[in-house]
Subunit: 597 residues, 2 copies
């Protein structure tokens, strides 16, 4: 289907918005009036710019407070509308959005609304323009889509149809099934937005918190299904008012936006991109570092062994059970200090996974490999992390391990089993995008977003995981975009069956565990009837504890190297959390360890 | 009255919070449990630190989900409480907050709640501790203060009282008069918070949007009045959960917090700081500049004349009618580029104004003056702007103009009458503080906050003014704390009786007006039936137009020098706005004028 986006959904000047929409691959735009007013481009220049960019102008919007008003007011409104029709001719836009009135002058009189909209449509028709009438969720007298449709039906003019908006319909809790009673030909436009489920005033909710379909909690795909069953064949158009998008760069936002429409079409059953290939494990986590010594010390103290070396690159494989860490000391490392740069996702079908990622607009990474190296498919996640789709020593598939040559080593000793989860810091503007990306591109399921109190601001965290928990990624974001953002920590958590033993071994091998305040353990004693010996061991080692109906979660942390620290986790099988309630204590302890300036 | 603040209201480690509270001048603190848990200080060390800082620990908080539960659950809760009582002994805290239960286990059984709270109070009493029971607005069965009080009354134990919280009471719309039915001796604690009026889920509202009294829309002073009439003599304590405060520096937040309590006590009639002295005009606006030429060119083109020079400092007085601009090329100018550094407020009683400012914790600025200079009182506004309380050639008062020596000059010619308003950019974390500061310290009235769409984010603006509009200050803030913040523009708006003539004169004198897109004028023509000649003149000169029931507002802008631009304004007497609906067009035009990198 054709895709479109309202210019209000993107930041910048009108020119920047149009360019971003076209580069992302949209077919058309809705021109938001205020964006035109603030632009130095004439309507003719906007029209030409859109034509050059291959964008149609699908809608001009909005006209407000037109209908159901006293006669003299309506004459003024018609005069205003005539101005806009002339403007639209110059723009080359043939459909205008009319929002249901919020004016205190508006009367609760459907017949008057219909007759005035009919008169408006007659004038529009003369100018070659169609009028799409939409119920705002906070319209004074008309606030539901079926009410707007009844008025359009009564007005009965070929140049008058209705505009449906998923936010206005779903935010009010209207039953969207009734959409199917509207003839498709009378649905002149379809605007789409999602929103997180919030109990708040619908106007504020709409103006500040809309998001792209799949990023919130509304059933936008279900609504699209109803609309398509009417025979509607206009564009799917995004109209998203969002305080964060207003500040974000238009380019990435536009790509994110188009991805949401691709996923939406898949969810609504009208397109079939390559099917998701859900990863079945973490093949490896790759650290790049300019300062290899503290990292190898950390890995050695945890009991990892350096088992192999890449044939053509300065990359070592460290291994322990199913946990594999690549340590890359190549040129990229010198740029940003020690960080978690890449993740190998164990994939049942690496090529298929890459095809889906590419179809959903994930940036495909160039293959930088030496002759003879295994061909690996990789894409970039929104935070820049490289995601490799790969196989580890599985029959019939090339294994990334073939690029490595075994080296002599002592056996691993730390009792670590595999990667429990990865925690990645997201760019502030792309927290919601990141969840949608991991859900749609990788086929992971997203958990609820949780707030975590850091001593210097509120963080948000949202986990994505596969069904059996063999792939878990916690996406985190800071309280606001600051220079500090790039410095925020990432971490790798390793699973163990006996955390006390693993932590003790680590400490005895010279590893330094993050110290946890004694007050925390006094509280733990008050909260849970833990055996004294356990509590004593936790206190001694800095082990944090959480419990829910699914079981217990025990975890402790190493000190931080560069941007990275490591976590040891003992998770009861039914526990799905990540120790969020302990995160404030961990964050305070980490702040306390920083050199105070 | 004694003042107190909950540690959760301030950012940082527990040590940082305590230090900030003490430095601001609070008498005591509520220790929020999570702050203690995350602190490396033992309870004894916290107690000693508070004693050193002169802070009492007025409350330990909160205990949750204690009451109205099945017997076995209650036994576990008692065990947990005993732990906390021992902790409080170590801390030296004698009052604990118990919040009404939100647990799904809680039963709707007031008699059970009362009997269990009584048992808790008995244990507390043995430990020398008092229990303050508070109704959370989202409590499972107990959500109103009168309900909580009925349970406390039924429990009837001397160690059990109630805690009142202005947010929980006022957010629910409860009638606070009933507070007076509670004996003052049974009100064990009073927590205070304001909040902006928002139609949203009360839990989210409380956790993220609370603010200090006087910064929101709740009648906190009214509530305090009711509480004091009961004979309550405990502390006034602030408990504010706010996402912005979590990120702000604790020091300024604590000062802001204490100021809010001082104003609250004045509003509630229990204290009488020096009365406000409302300024009666803008005596001068002072620009500092390292690059004097473009600024003098601007002032000359506007028709200002250089009428006098400071006797001892490199400061010139530029004048036109009642509009006076000081141009300071002293050492401070070299630091930050051209900016609006100080404002002279015409004051009926400069000394009295300064006394009030000092009493309300405004930082008093040192007087840097040469012998013989007039003594001027000045304080710093939250954004660092210096505010001088002064008199201009008024009998019986020293005039700031005495420090200036007239110089020969041509007569001013621009048709400008006086300063219409000043626009000052606020630090992101202190937008609400700034409005409270200007309201309480200067006695100005605050208008509603408005959102303004900049192409790169949503700005907020809030005006403060005196009754006759002779002092108007628009406080603005950007969308988020960024490095760009310091670069945001300030401006001075000058009033004229004939904007078209003034703008034309400026342009003819070589001044450059900010160009406004032609599309804006097409829209103006559609919106208002303006005479063609007016519209043509507006279009030619870049004049923006707004209108409401109070009349019209016409305005245009110069180009920006450093951080500063100037505005010319023709305001109908009844119009109270600042052209907010035109601000997006102005902002886009200003972005367009920046060199694109």
């Amino acid at each position: 289907m054709r895709t479109s986006i309202a210019t209000v959904s993107l930041s910048g000047s009108l020119t920047e918005k149009l360019t971003a929409a076209a580069r992302a691959g949209f077919d058309g735009v809705e021109i938001f009036e205020n964006d035109l007013l603030a632009s130095p481009l004439t309507p003719e220049e906007v029209r030409a710019r859109c034509a050059d960019l291959g964008l149609s102008i699908d809608l001009y919007q909005p006209m407000r407070d037109i209908e159901a008003v006293p006669a003299d007011e309506f004459e003024r409104n018609l005069r205003r509308a005539e101005h806009k029709f002339r403007l639209m001719e110059r723009l080359g836009a043939d459909t205008v959005l009319v929002c249901s009135s919020v004016s205190p002058l508006a009367l609760d009189d459907d017949a008057l609304a219909a007759s005035q909209l009919r008169r408006l449509a007659e004038r529009a028709h003369d100018a070659g323009i169609r009028v799409a009438y939409e119920a705002l969720a906070w319209g004074r007298h008309v606030s539901t889509y079926d009410h707007a449709w009844r008025i359009v039906e009564a007005a009965d003019h070929p140049a008058l149809g209705t505009c449906l908006d998923s936010f206005h319909i779903l935010a009010r809790g209207s039953d969207p099934k009734g959409v199917e009673d509207i003839p498709g030909g009378k649905i002149f436009f379809l605007q789409l937005a999602d929103a997180p489920l919030m109990a708040m005033d619908v106007l504020q909710w709409s103006r500040h918190y809309r998001c792209f379909p799949g990023q919130g909690g509304l059933d936008v795909a279900g609504l699209v299904g109803h609309v398509l069953r009417t025979g509607y064949d206009g564009p799917l158009s995004l109209e998203v008012f969002n305080d964060v998008f207003r500040q974000a760069e238009a380019g990435p936002t536009a790509v994110d936006a188009l991805r949401s429409l691709l996923v939406l079409q898949e969810d609504a059953g009208v397109s079939a991109p390559p099917a998701p290939v859900v990863p079945t494990g973490i093949a490896f986590a790759e650290l790049v570092t300019p300062d290899v010594e503290p990292v190898t010390e950390l890995l050695e103290a945890l009991g990892f062994a350096r088992t192999a070396r890449h044939r053509s690159k300065p990359v070592d494989l460290w291994q322990q059970g199913g946990a594999r860490v690549l340590l890359n000391t190549g040129p990229a490392a010198r740029r940003d200090g020690t960080r978690l740069a890449a993740v190998g996702l164990e994939s049942p079908d690496p090529a298929g996974a890459a095809q889906r990622a590419e179809a959903l607009l994930a940036p495909v990474l160039p293959r930088r490999r030496a002759p003879g190296d295994v061909e690996l498919d990789a894409v970039a996640a929104p935070d820049g992390t490289e995601l490799f789709f790969c196989a580890t020593d599985r029959p019939g598939l090339p294994s990334w391990t073939s690029d490595f040559e075994a080296v002599e080593h002592r056996p691993p000793t730390g009792g670590l089993l595999h990667v429990d989860h990865l925690a990645l810091t997201q760019p502030w503007h792309q927290f919601d995008e990141a969840a949608l990306f991991h859900r749609s591109v990788l086929g992971l399921a997203a958990q609820e977003s949780v707030d975590v109190a850091d001593p210097y601001g509120l963080l948000r965290s949202r986990a994505v995981a596969n069904d059996d928990g063999s792939v878990r990624i916690a996406l985190g974001v800071g309280p606001a975009p600051t220079a500090d953002e790039a410095g925020r920590a990432q971490h790798i958590a390793f699973a163990t069956g006996d955390l006390v033993a693993a932590a003790r071994r680590f400490r005895d091998a010279g590893g330094r565990l993050l110290p946890v305040p004694a007050n925390y353990y006094d509280d733990l004693a008050a909260k849970y009837a833990l055996p004294d010996a356990d509590l004593e061991a936790y206190r001694e080692l800095g082990i944090l504890y959480d419990r829910d109906a699914g079981g217990a979660f025990r975890h402790c942390y190493t000190e931080t190297v560069g941007r990275v620290f490591l976590e040891l986790v003992q998770r009861d099988p039914g526990h799905r959390g990540y120790g969020a309630q302990n995160a404030p204590v961990r964050l305070a302890a980490q702040h306390g360890r920083r050199p105070v300036g």
